[in-house]
């Protein structure tokens, strides 16, 4: 017996390797979705020190648009949807949509966070904060985000895909006088100089540094004279506003429009792009069918995201109608060049099934 005892004393007890403690589950487990490895969701709920998020990741940061967009109601006056629908794409990316019954344009607004600040892209079609409380909504999201990430201050930049577009610049007024806020000026020259593009508009590229998440600013006039697109290298999104979206794209100047799409195409081939995120949806899920202006009820809307291959397609057909006053229907968008926004056509794209959607009440 004593020999045995001695033997046990000599051989040390095998130590279990020290493992990190994951209160919300180990993100390395195979059954976790890709995105888990890129989140801070396992952090304690109220950190004492600022949490620096790692925005470097292989491929696009994961995220999901998990819900259907609110789309108005048969009778707009009795609509009970939220005035702004918020979808959290991932922890640092929010997509906001204005209620269709507050304004028929129902624009999308994007809120992106970086380690040093936040960026609001576009500002909605309604200035009245009682009807469209964008400022309060953004403040609430920022407050919540700041709490989770242990920040006391989150500087905000408000930028527009087009300063002149009344479907996107109205909510900007609500941010006037907001502390820690930079508003990109609306006048064309001031906007160019803000992005440092005075000398090289539209070939150059500006940047907005959110802290480890640097948003590129690409001049894309064409729908609007002061149009810009934004590229987010974290989610690999291109925010194109009125230039390219699943809807009725009105062309302000077809030469600029083609040139801008060419620049976007070159940009998309040099940088990874998962989705083109526009400012509105007019298309239905049936190819080539779209809602006319001023509708408050759009139950058959297409999804918001567009694949990057649609840049190429838009470019081909923009070239086709360059110099002509006409409209052209494609499955995912419609181009209006030099015609009324209510223009109609009897031409239907070849090979595209023509599905008439049922009429709502």
């Amino acid at each position: 017996m004593p020999q045995d005892l001695a033997a046990t004393k000599l051989t040390p007890k095998p130590k279990t390797p020290k493992r990190r403690y994951y209160p919300n589950g180990n993100p390395e487990h195979g059954y976790n979705p890709e995105g888990v490895r890129n989140t801070d969701s396992a952090l304690p709920p109220e950190p004492r020190r600022p949490v620096m998020h790692d925005y470097a990741c292989d491929g696009p940061a994961p995220g999901r648009i998990a819900f259907r967009w609110i789309h108005g109601s048969t009778v707009a006056a009795t609509n009970t949807d939220p005035r702004i629908q918020i979808i959290q794409y991932n922890e640092d990316t929010f997509v906001l949509r204005q209620n269709v019954c507050v304004h028929w344009e129902a624009p999308f607004t994007y809120l992106l966070f970086g380690n040093k600040g936040a960026l609001l892209i576009d500002s909605g079609a309604t200035a009245n904060a009682d009807h469209y409380p964008l400022r309060d909504t953004v403040d609430a999201i920022i407050k919540r985000w700041a709490k989770i990430r242990g920040r006391t201050k989150v500087p905000l930049t408000v930028a527009l895909t087009s300063g002149e577009d009344v479907a996107q610049n109205q909510g900007m007024r609500q941010f006037a006088g907001r502390p820690d806020t930079v508003i990109v000026p609306k006048p064309l020259a001031a906007m160019k100089s803000f992005y440092g593009l005075l000398g090289n508009w539209p070939q150059g590229t500006g940047r907005i540094d959110l802290g480890d998440r640097v948003i590129s600013v690409i001049p894309t006039p064409g729908a609007h004279i002061d149009g810009v697109s934004f590229y987010d290298p974290y989610c690999d999104f291109l925010f194109t506003g009125d230039l390219l979206f699943p809807g009725r794209i009105s062309i302000g100047n077809d030469r600029d429009f083609v040139a801008s799409l060419e620049r976007l195409k070159a940009f998309a081939s040099a940088n990874p792009v998962t989705s083109v995120m526009g400012g509105h949806i007019d298309m239905m899920f049936a190819p080539g069918q779209f809602y006319p202006r001023f509708r408050n009820f759009k139950p058959y809307e297409r999804t918001l995201e567009m694949g990057p291959e649609l840049i190429e397609e838009a470019l081909i057909y923009a070239r086709e109608i360059q110099g002509q006053d006409k409209m052209l229907i494609r499955p995912d968008f419609v181009l209006f060049n030099g015609v009324s926004p209510d223009q109609r056509t009897r031409e239907w794209p070849e090979g595209v099934p023509r599905i008439s959607v049922p009429r709502p009440f």
Partner: protein
């Protein structure tokens, strides 16, 4: 009962079912004193300074689903709320000693969405209380100006209403409802009980359309064929002939106002594009005979399809399926 028994002449003469006319004359249970609709014409009335005209945010609209305006004691004009339907049509409700005529029913079909039936019932009850009648004894005629759904969508709400007749949704049923045998030239007279409504065909916007003239207020209701906005003319020849008929009518009959179904123009002549839900500076719905005559003079010069502005209305000659007036505002160099 033959549906044409309420027609005073022309069609009523063609009724062969004996006793049908007599059976319906002067129902004994209408209590109040008969109202005189034949003297001191035209009966005075007023249009509102401003109709309900939508709101910047539709979901924050606090107006009623329909505005009920009493033009005078015996005539109401209804207007649908733009936040319930962007078409926002107008709908006259004319009261006679025996029956009531509702012209147009708006663009929302379900009662749960927009309760036109309840509103009309309330309005009728109001009038009956004022004039000492029993609402149940008043027959309601639910008709419409023309065969487009923004004018008949709510007809179904009246399907179960007692003592009510409503127009069918085909051309034949519409023409038959008024007992016409020679559309569009034939002019029939509807007797609401001492109050005559003259009705004749007015095709052009669509084929199945009528003009209604109320002999009491002397308002000429021209539907969508001529209104303060974009008169979408689908068929030019019939439309032009209909205009001719309207002018001839104005030559021979006193007309106080010409009234259409919609307003799509501001009081400065600006076009409100199709589908707009807020029209803050809307032009009045009523027009003068002079404006009708001017438009007719202008129409004489129109030779082809296109959009023409007469100073009062836009004549959109065969352009509906091709183009509109307004332009993309952000076009540049």
């Amino acid at each position: 009962m033959d549906r044409r028994t309420f027609l005073a002449y022309n069609a009523a003469a063609a009724v062969t079912v004996s006793g049908a006319v007599a059976a319906h004359a002067e129902s004994p249970d209408s209590q109040g004193r008969p109202i005189d609709f034949k003297n001191n014409l035209p009966a005075k009335g007023t249009f509102p300074e401003k109709w309900i005209c939508g709101s910047p945010s539709c979901m924050d609209n606090t107006d009623p689903p329909w505005q009920v305006h009493w033009y005078n004691e015996h005539s109401a004009i209804l207007r649908q709320n733009k936040a319930y339907s962007y078409e926002a049509p107008f709908a006259p409700l004319y009261f006679g000693n025996d029956r009531i005529l509702l012209l147009d029913e708006g663009y929302v079909s379900l009662r749960t969405n927009c309760d036109l039936r309840g509103i009309v019932d309330d309005t009728i009850e109001q009038w009956c209380r004022r004039n000492d009648r029993d609402p149940a004894s008043m027959e309601l005629l639910v008709a419409f100006s023309h065969l487009h759904s923004d004018h008949y969508a709510a007809v179904n709400q009246f399907a179960d209403r007692p003592n009510t007749r409503y127009m069918g949704l085909t051309h034949e049923e519409m023409v038959g409802f008024w007992g016409m045998t020679n559309f569009p030239e034939e002019r029939v007279t509807l007797d609401l009980g001492g109050r005559d409504i003259l009705i004749w065909g007015s095709p052009g916007h669509v084929i199945s359309e009528f003009a209604y003239y109320d002999s009491y207020t002397q308002i000429l209701y021209t539907g969508d064929m001529f209104y303060r906005g974009r008169c979408y003319i689908s068929f030019w020849e019939p439309w032009f002939d209909s205009m001719k008929r309207l002018i001839e009518f104005c030559d021979t009959h006193p007309v106080t106002h010409v009234m259409g179904c919609h307003v799509e123009i501001s009081n400065t002549g600006q076009d409100y594009p199709y589908g707009l839900t807020y029209q803050p500076d809307e032009a009045p719905v009523q027009m003068t005979v002079e404006q009708l005559r001017d438009a007719f003079e202008y129409a004489k010069t129109v030779t082809g399809p296109g959009i023409y502005f007469t100073g009062t209305v836009f004549l959109c000659n065969q352009t509906r399926s091709t183009t509109t007036i307004d332009q993309y505002p952000y076009r540049y160099g």
